[in-house]
Each structure stands twice: as structure tokens, then as C-alpha cells.
């Protein structure tokens, strides 16, 4: 927590994302992008936490994030994702989806492509189409899936002017977030507390499965899938509850964990250490959920992203069943730590990659931690 430096940036941050590092590279990420909201002029900015700044006491590089470039964005940045090393997709509150290109040589951003009316409301009385906020975007090069307040799901392909597929009226309520389950299947969560699986291979405009909680229909705000075990899905709700689902079985969550005191805005499994989960919330806290038990108990390869799970013998596989699916995760010594010092206003967004974590708050501050597992 000592390395958690705050930088005040004069704009409320709605999304922060690390630029993905090339698969073969071993170094930690150096660049991240942020999107702002609630400003008269919103911006997408690219920052660097590279090797600027002086050496710290232990010899590690310390330094504040430096602004490399920014570009004006129409409407609030509702969601943002890196499409590839150079392109960023941003979802806007005006209903448009834009791809920005980051030019490394002269450190500028420019608009690469824009779908103006990705999401809109139709008013039967007047011919006027009002823009509806696009609330979630997810990419899997070359495809982009967006969802919005109009209950519409769009499948775009970069460089195609029109949407490849649109599911009209996919949901009667607002879709809050979307993520890929498999290459052709997506997961969405909505404001009446339902988790739906959509299969693009099917032509009908119906979800292939619907999951929901039995109790009150608390809206769900975020969703993320376990990086290796694709049946494990985590969602966060308006009451701050973290739910873990197994999409192979049942229509109810496997475990419900009382987490935050207010809306949970984002949930992320760590991409290479999936025993670690991160959630951030309107109540101003960012929690790190650590279910990894002692290294001596678990085989060490589990921490390396489980690439060698296929080499496991069957019996060993049973013992490394994810701690997320066990009925009582707290029994397995799950450690939960709050990473934000002095919480005041909402932490709107977080992203983890390697040993680095970045998050943005409504107090107009960005926090970067480059030594998560130290």
C-alpha cells in the first residue's frame, strides 16, 4: 500500500485500462488509458508509468503517471477497452461507439472509426431518434460487442461501417455490462438482476440461458469470467454483493458474498493469477480478494495461469478445483484487503495486469500500484 501513489487529474475518471502487453513479453505494462465523465468536455487520455522519475529506496522506479496525450470525447466515457496495441474502443453516453488510434511516434490520439447511432431510443410519435447511453463494450479482435440503455446488443467488426449483427430489444431493461464467455458467446447483465448468455451462432434473438437470483431483483452492474475456467463467472450488484456463478449448472449463483456497502462498479479476475479477484465500488473502496492458500499446499503451476492444467492427473485436478466454486470460500482462508487509503468518493474503475493495478475515482484521482504481489 505504500506504493499506492495518487495523482489528481482535474477530471472525474470513469474508466481506466492498461494497454495489453504482447504475449511473449515479460515486463509489466507501462501505459494506461483513462476516460472521464461528467465534464463539459470529456477526454480520453493516455498515461505512462514507465521509467520516468527517480529511483526509489529499493531501487524500483517511482514516478507519477505522466500524461502522454489526450483527445476530446463527446459524451461521458461509459466503457473503454483496448482493441489492440494501438486502438482503443470507447462507449459514449450519446450512444456512439468510437475507435481511437494512439500514434506512438508522435504521441497523439485520433479518431479511427465511429458508429454514431449504435444505441438509440425510438419514439413512435416523433421521427426523432434520441441517443441512448452505450453502457458496455468488449472486444475480441476483430469483433466488438456493445450493449446499451436501449436494451440492444450490437456486434461490430472493425472497418465495417454497419453492424454485423444487431439484436433488437434483447432486454426490456438496461444492459449494464457485457463480456465474452467463448468466442461466439457473450454474457450480459441487466438492471433487473439477470445474467444472460447469448449465442451468436443462433439466428434467433433470444438468450440461450437466463440466470437470476431468487430474491429481489437487484440490478447487476459488472461481470467477468474466470480466465482459465470458463464456466466460472463473477458479477457485482447494486447492493455491493459479489456473486459467483457456475454457468454449467443451475440457474442460481454458487456463492453470494456480502462485499461493499454500495454499487459494485467493476469486478476483475486477475488475468494471470485467477485466485485473485478485484472489485471496486461506489463506497470508495477497492477490495483485493485472495483465495490462494499456502504455496506448499497448492501446486505452484496454478499460479502461472494454469497453462499446464492439461498435464494434471485427474486426481490432482480435483484438489485444485477453484476455491471460487467451493461453497464457503471464507473457510479456505480467503483474504480480503482494501487497497485504497483514505476512501472518500467512489472508485469507478480498476484494471489489473501482471503486478500492476490502476484505478480511478470520483475524487478526480488516479491510483497506480506497481507491486501488487510484493
Amino acid at each position: 500500500m505504500e506504493d499506492f501513489s495518487a495523482k489528481f487529474v482535474s477530471q472525474k475518471i470513469s474508466k481506466t485500462r492498461w494497454r495489453p502487453v504482447p504475449a511473449a513479453a515479460l515486463q509489466p505494462p507501462e501505459l494506461f488509458a483513462t476516460g472521464s465523465w461528467d465534464n463539459e468536455e470529456n477526454k480520453i487520455s493516455v498515461w505512462s508509468v514507465g521509467d520516468f522519475g527517480s529511483l526509489g529506496p529499493n531501487g524500483e522506479y517511482q514516478g507519477e503517471p505522466q500524461l502522454l496525450c489526450d483527445i476530446r470525447h463527446h459524451g461521458d466515457v461509459m466503457d473503454m477497452q483496448f482493441f489492440d496495441q494501438e486502438r482503443i474502443v470507447a462507449a459514449s453516453s450519446t450512444g456512439s461507439v468510437t475507435i481511437f488510434r494512439h500514434h506512438q511516434n508522435n504521441q497523439t490520439l485520433s479518431v479511427n472509426q465511429r458508429w454514431e447511432r449504435a444505441h438509440y431510443h425510438v419514439d413512435p410519435d416523433t421521427p426523432f431518434y434520441g441517443g441512448a447511453s452505450c453502457t458496455g463494450v468488449i472486444c475480441n479482435n476483430p469483433e466488438i460487442v456493445t450493449v446499451g440503455e436501449d436494451g440492444r446488443i450490437n456486434l461490430f467488426r472493425a472497418d465495417h461501417r454497419e453492424a454485423v449483427r444487431t439484436i433488437e430489444n434483447a432486454d426490456s431493461s438496461t444492459l449494464h455490462a457485457v463480456t465474452f464467455l467463448r468466442t461466439t458467446e457473450i454474457l450480459t447483465v441487466n438492471s433487473i438482476g439477470q445474467l444472460k448468455i447469448w449465442d451468436f451462432r443462433q439466428q434467433r434473438n433470444e438468450p440461450s440461458q437466463i440466470f437470476s437470483l431468487t430474491g429481489d431483483r437487484i440490478p447487476l452492474h459488472c461481470v467477468d469470467r474466470h480466465p482459465n475456467q470458463q464456466h466460472i463467472v463473477a458479477t457485482g450488484g447494486q447492493d455491493g454483493m459479489l456473486s459467483i456463478w457456475d454457468v454449467r449448472q443451475g440457474s442460481m449463483p454458487v456463492s453470494l458474498l456480502n462485499a461493499h456497502e454500495a454499487e459494485m462498479w467493476e469486478v476483475h479476475f486477475h488475468p494471470s493469477n485467477p485466485d485473485h479477484l478485484f472489485t471496486c465500488s461506489e463506497d470508495g473502496s477497492l477490495w483485493h480478494w485472495d483465495t490462494s492458500t499456502d504455496v506448499s499446499e497448492k501446486p505452484s503451476f496454478f499460479h502461472q495461469g494454469g497453462r499446464s492444467t492439461t498435464l494434471l492427473s485427474h486426481t490432482a485436478n480435483q484438489s485444485v478445483i477453484s476455491a471460487w466454486l467451493s461453497n464457503n470460500p471464507t473457510k479456505d482462508r480467503m483474504e480480503i484487503t482494501n487497497l485504497v487509503p483514505n476512501q472518500t468518493l467512489s472508485v469507478n474503475s480498476l484494471d489489473v495486469l501482471g503486478p500492476c493495478l490502476v484505478c480511478g475515482t470520483d475524487a478526480e484521482a488516479i491510483y497506480v500500484n506497481r507491486h501488487l504481489f510484493a
Binding site: 487529474v9 431510443h121 440503455e149 436494451g151 447494486q238 472518500t344 467512489s346
Partner: protein
């Protein structure tokens, strides 16, 4: 800083010609709307008017990018202070408050640094001017805050007081370092034209070691004056100073100082330094000779520097209460009647006189933004220094200032979130102000509405919760997002709206013959109980599902229950009865005799309910429907009676 204006400043509105047409205005929470009316002034020609409405804002600071960081960081410090433990008493509490004060100051400094960078890097002269002005305002703010910290928060006692004041002066007044660097970088420092100025300023600021270091350069360069330098050096070394942590008592210190003072006096009277006027004047300064110190006016640049130097060399053990006399006389001597005191001077004077209210009042007048006075007053209030000075409209000064500051934040499109926390910590009027302000925040997206709702819910502002949910639900209904509308009414527990939404669904069903948004209706869950109509909708859909799954007896039971338990609205009974028709016409008997009687009763209730005036308007279709129903019911009754009367088997 702004002076108290007698003439208010004139602001021209571009595009509006006030010579030809009359202007009109309306007050807003933090700004003004101005527009041109249709009414021409006398003798003015007809011309097309200006079609624009202008928003005139007084507080520009809130829109400055750099100052936003100040607002945000200080918000964090403010919240930390409010939440900090009150139980800590005495020294630890004081240390905590000093820490908070230093935090505020470091935030001001950081902001100043950044503004300074902006000023030097910009090429636009107007921007440069603007930024430089801002830098000087911020630096004045830090100066005042630092002094208030020393006098009011730290409450340094005699002895330590002077040390703090010395630090204050060294930090803020006149830029010594660049001059000294220049002198030292020269090959023969003692020949530099500013050499003696440098030595003088070190002595004036009580920096004896630095002065001695420079003096040694003179001694090595000029052997003839080596003797004098040595004596002066010796005097400087022996000057008694009270260091923090030193266990000397004040009386001991005073004795030593008296001793030392007499020694300096002796050297001066002996004429030791007569041959070198520079060193003689330094010796006079060491003796606290006011005229000698006054001669170095340009080096000191301000009267408060003069004050501190005077005190160092004549009354090092000055008590806080004695400061005011020295301050007043210093200012008079320094300004010498040539210039009148500026606003900054009167603020500092008020501080030296320990008139806290005066300080705050003058700062409020001089500064354009409430930020400074609000935070300073809050800190001083935590030091328990402000008596409950009740203003005639009911709240105390701290609350008044915080309310003004927070209201200013609410007029900003983005900083309103900070304002909420400030209102929270105003015990008397905070809640009311918050209620009024929060309803006026524009809700462009659902996410923003959710944040505002969370704020209201956390503070039990139920009225506002209901009204915001209703606004969002109405918007959703207009956009045909019935699921969103339902989720908003669930959040507000608004039964009336849920009824409205269910009516919409039922209307859609009647018009189209099928339900829209099945994913919503099928999965209502416990929220179905929010309103009767919604329950009916859910159950009706369940009836359709059961029918689709061919579970006819359960479907029949459900249908009957809907009518007899009066869950269904009267307008829908006909539809329900028509829905019962296929069940009545099935090959096997689904409705029992009892149930058939019930259905018949319902039909009779329905037709009897149609009064005489309606009989004229009943069309053939209606009559046919009723007749078909009656026939089907009768046939079913017959079959049911037969079936029930028959013995099983045999």
C-alpha cells in the same frame, strides 16, 4: 487581490445592445441568466434582436483546471479532519491539527507550483498574466495560512514563537537563494557587488551559520579586516538561540542573551568596526538598532520581515500577546506614511492582533472564492478557537462559510459530488441545502442517477429518492423501456408506478395478443408483490405458460383464483372469461361443477355491472361473446355434473 470596490465592475454582454433594447436577468444558484427583451428603448430603431441567452458566472476559479486539484485534494483533507478522533486530547490532538494544517499548505504549494509552470510555459500573454496573478494569490493565501498556523493552531509559546516566525519569514519573503548563488559562483565572492547584501540578509533572517560562512570568504580575501571578521564571527557564533527541544528555560535564555547583547555593545562603543561601515552596520543590527535595520528596507521588502528581525535582535523571548504592539509599530515605521496598507497587510495585522474574526472577514472580502476562508475557519473551529458567534440568521460562522462554499461547488457541472460531503458536516442547515441542491442536478445517464440516488439513500432523503426514481421511470416509459421503468419503481418501492407499467403491458397484450418483454414478466420474482396489478400480470403470464405446457387443471385453478380473489381488474374479466373458453371446450372436463358455478357467477356479475346506459352501446360482438360463454358454461356444467355423479370404475 481585489480591493473593496466602490464602483461595481462593468461586464459587457457580447451581442446584446443595451442602448437599443432592454435587458432582463434572472438569478440562478451560482450564476445569472441574461437576455434581451422585446421591449425597445425610446427612440431606438427596429432591429433584429439577439437570440441568445447568456449565462454570467462570477466565480471563475471553480472552472480552472489547476484549482480543481486544490478543491479535490483539500476535500480529502477536510473529510479526514472531520472523521479524525475527537478523543485525542492535549498534545496529540494539537499535533494532529498541525499536521492537517501542513497538509492544506502543501496542497496550496503544489497548486502554486503547477500554476507557475503553466505561467512560464504559455506563450499567450493574457494567459500568462492570468496565471501569474493566480500564483501570487495562492502564495498570499499560503502566507496567511502559515501565519495562522503558527499563531492559532500551533499556539507557540514565547521563545518558540520567534523560531516559527523566523521560519515563516525565511520561507516566504524575498528570494535570497538566487542572489547568494550568484555571489558564491563568482571567483572572488567578497568583491561581488551583492556580497554585503547577502551577508546582511542572512543576518536579518537570523541565519548565522550562512552569514559566518560568507564572512570567512571576506576574511580570506582581505587580510587587513581579518581581525574584525574574527570578532564579528565570534559574536555571531555566540548568539544564544533557543532551539526546539532545548531544555533551557526562558529566564536562562534571557540572561545569556543580555550578556551577549552587552558584549556586542562594548565592541561597538570601542569602535572596533569603525573602519568598515558594512560590519559596523551589521553590529548595529545585532544590537537591534531600529534605524540600522530600517536602512536595509529594500532587502527585507516587507514590514513583517522587519517586525521579525526587530524581535530577533531586541526581544527574542516575545510573548504572543505582545506581538500586536510590535506589529503595529513595525508597519508604521516601515511604511513611514508613504503608502497605505494593502489588503494583505491588514489581514496579517489582524492575525498578529489575534483578531480571528477580523482575519476571516478581510479574507472573505479580498478573495473571490470561498475555498480559503471555509477551510481555514473549519480548522480553527476544530482548534476550539471560534466562540459560537451566532449570526443573526441562525447558523454559526463556520457553517455559514461551508454552506457558501459548497453551494458554489454545486453550481459546477462536476464538482457537486464534493459539495455533498461539505453539506454533511453542517449540522444545522446542511441537510436542507443538500435536499434543495440535489434535486437540481441534471441526470443525463442512468449511471449518474444511480450515484445521486445512492447519496440520497445514504442520508435517508426519501422524498428525493422517490422523485428521482419517478423521473427516471417516466423517461424509461416514454422510451418504451418497460423493464428499466420497473426496476426504477422497485428501487423507490413505488406501487403506483408499478401499476402504471403493468397497465402498459396489459394494454400491449390486448392490442397485440401476445406479451412483449417476456424475460421481464417471467422473472418478476418477489417484486411481483409490489403492486396488485403487477401481481396480476405475473400470474396471468403464468396462466398462459401453464396453458402452453398443457397443465390444464392448474391453469384452470389459477384463472379462477384470479377472478375470485379479485386480483384481476374488472376491465380484464371479459378477457379472462374468453381465455377460459378453450378450457371449457376441451374434450375432458377441466372445470368442476363448483368452479363452473363460480365462473357463471363471475359472468353474471360482469353483465349485471353493465348499467342501462351501456346497454344501448353494446354491440353485437359483445352480445355474441356473452352468449357463447353462457353456452359453453352450461355445457361444461352438464358434463361436470355427470362426471362427478358417476362412480369410478365398474
Amino acid at each position: 487581490m481585489e480591493e473593496l470596490d466602490v464602483e461595481p465592475p462593468l461586464t459587457l454582454i457580447p451581442g446584446v445592445d443595451s442602448n437599443r433594447k432592454q435587458m432582463c436577468f434572472a438569478w440562478g444558484p451560482g450564476e445569472m441568466l441574461v437576455y434581451e427583451t422585446l421591449f425597445p428603448k425610446e427612440h431606438a430603431e427596429k432591429r433584429p434582436g439577439c437570440p441568445n441567452i447568456f449565462i454570467v458566472r462570477k466565480d471563475q476559479d471553480v472552472y480552472s483546471q489547476t484549482l480543481r486539484k486544490l478543491f479535490n485534494e483539500s476535500h480529502g483533507i477536510f473529510i479526514g479532519l472531520q472523521r479524525s478522533e475527537e478523543e485525542l486530547a492535549g498534545k496529540s490532538r494539537k499535533a494532529q491539527l498541525v499536521r492537517v494544517s501542513k497538509n492544506y499548505r502543501s496542497v496550496i504549494r503544489a497548486c502554486m507550483e503547477e500554476m507557475h509552470q503553466l505561467a512560464i510555459s504559455t506563450r499567450d500573454p493574457e494567459l500568462h498574466c492570468q496565471h501569474s496573478t493566480q500564483v501570487s494569490i495562492l502564495s498570499a493565501m499560503e502566507l496567511i495560512w502559515n501565519l495562522c498556523e503558527i499563531l492559532f493552531v500551533e499556539v507557540a509559546p514565547a521563545g518558540h514563537l520567534l523560531l516559527h516566525l523566523l521560519d515563516w519569514v525565511r520561507l516566504h519573503v524575498c528570494d535570497v537563494d538566487s542572489m547568494v548563488r550568484e555571489v558564491l559562483s563568482c571567483e572572488y565572492p567578497s568583491k561581488h557587488k551583492d556580497f554585503w547584501n547577502a551577508v546582511d540578509i542572512f543576518v536579518l533572517q537570523g541565519r548565522m551559520d550562512d552569514a559566518r560562512h560568507l564572512l570567512s570568504k571576506e576574511a580570506s580575501a582581505n587580510p587587513t579586516s581579518m581581525g574584525m571578521c574574527k570578532i564579528l564571527d565570534d559574536l555571531m557564533k555566540k548568539m544564544p538561540i533557543l532551539t526546539i527541544g532545548n531544555t533551557q528555560t526562558l529566564t536562562e535564555m534571557e540572561l545569556k542573551w543580555q550578556h551577549w547583547h552587552e558584549e556586542c555593545q562594548r565592541y561597538l562603543q570601542d569602535g572596533t568596526f569603525a573602519s568598515n561601515p558594512h560590519m559596523e552596520s551589521i553590529c548595529k543590527i545585532l544590537l537591534g538598532d531600529e534605524n540600522a535595520i530600517l536602512e536595509k528596507k529594500e532587502l527585507m521588502t516587507t514590514w513583517y520581515h522587519f517586525l521579525v528581525t526587530r524581535l530577533v535582535y531586541s526581544h527574542p523571548t516575545v510573548k504572543p500577546v505582545e506581538l500586536r504592539f510590535y506589529a503595529q509599530s513595525s508597519m508604521d515605521l516601515f511604511l513611514g506614511g508613504e503608502s497605505s496598507p494593502e489588503p494583505l497587510d491588514s489581514i496579517l495585522m489582524a492575525a498578529f492582533e489575534f483578531e480571528i474574526h477580523q482575519v476571516i472577514k478581510e479574507c472573505s472580502i479580498a478573495l473571490s472564492n470561498w475555498w480559503f476562508v471555509a477551510h481555514l475557519t473549519d480548522l480553527l473551529d476544530h482548534c476550539k478557537l471560534l466562540q459560537s458567534h451566532n449570526l443573526y440568521f441562525g447558523s454559526n460562522m463556520r457553517e455559514f462559510l461551508l454552506l457558501e462554499y459548497a453551494s458554489g461547488l454545486f453550481s459546477h457541472h462536476s464538482l457537486w459530488q464534493l459539495g455533498v460531503d461539505y453539506f454533511d458536516h453542517c449540522p444545522e442547515y446542511g441537510k436542507v441545502y443538500l435536499e434543495l441542491h440535489i434535486e437540481r442536478i441534471p441526470l443525463n445517464t442512468e449511471q449518474k442517477a444511480l450515484k445521486v440516488l445512492r447519496i440520497c439513500e445514504q442520508r435517508q432523503m426519501h422524498e428525493q429518492v422517490r422523485s428521482i426514481c419517478k423521473i427516471m421511470a417516466m423517461k424509461a416509459v416514454r422510451n418504451n423501456r418497460l423493464g428499466s421503468a420497473l426496476s426504477w419503481s422497485i428501487r423507490a418501492k413505488d406501487a403506483a408506478f408499478a401499476t402504471l407499467i403493468s397497465d402498459r403491458f396489459l394494454k400491449d397484450y390486448c392490442e397485440r395478443g401476445s406479451f412483449s418483454d417476456l424475460d421481464l414478466i417471467d422473472n418478476l420474482g418477489p417484486s411481483m408483490l409490489l403492486s396488485d396489478r403487477l401481481t396480476f400480470l405475473g400470474k396471468y403470464r403464468e396462466f398462459h405458460r401453464l396453458y402452453g405446457e398443457k397443465r390444464f387443471s392448474e391453469a384452470a385453478k389459477l384463472l379462477l383464483m384470479l377472478m375470485t380473489a379479485r386480483i384481476a381488474p374488472c376491465s380484464f374479466w371479459m378477457t379472462l372469461l374468453i381465455d377460459a373458453l378453450p378450457l371449457l371446450e376441451q374434450k375432458e372436463v377441466i372445470f368442476s361443477a363448483e368452479q363452473t358455478y363460480e365462473l357463471m357467477r363471475c359472468l353474471e356479475d360482469l353483465t349485471a355491472g353493465k348499467t342501462d346506459n351501456q346497454k344501448f352501446q353494446v354491440d353485437d360482438f359483445e352480445i355474441t361473446k356473452v352468449e357463447i360463454l353462457r353456452l359453453a358454461l352450461a355445457r361444461n356444467l352438464a358434463r361436470a355434473i355427470v362426471k362427478e355423479g358417476t362412480l369410478e370404475g365398474s
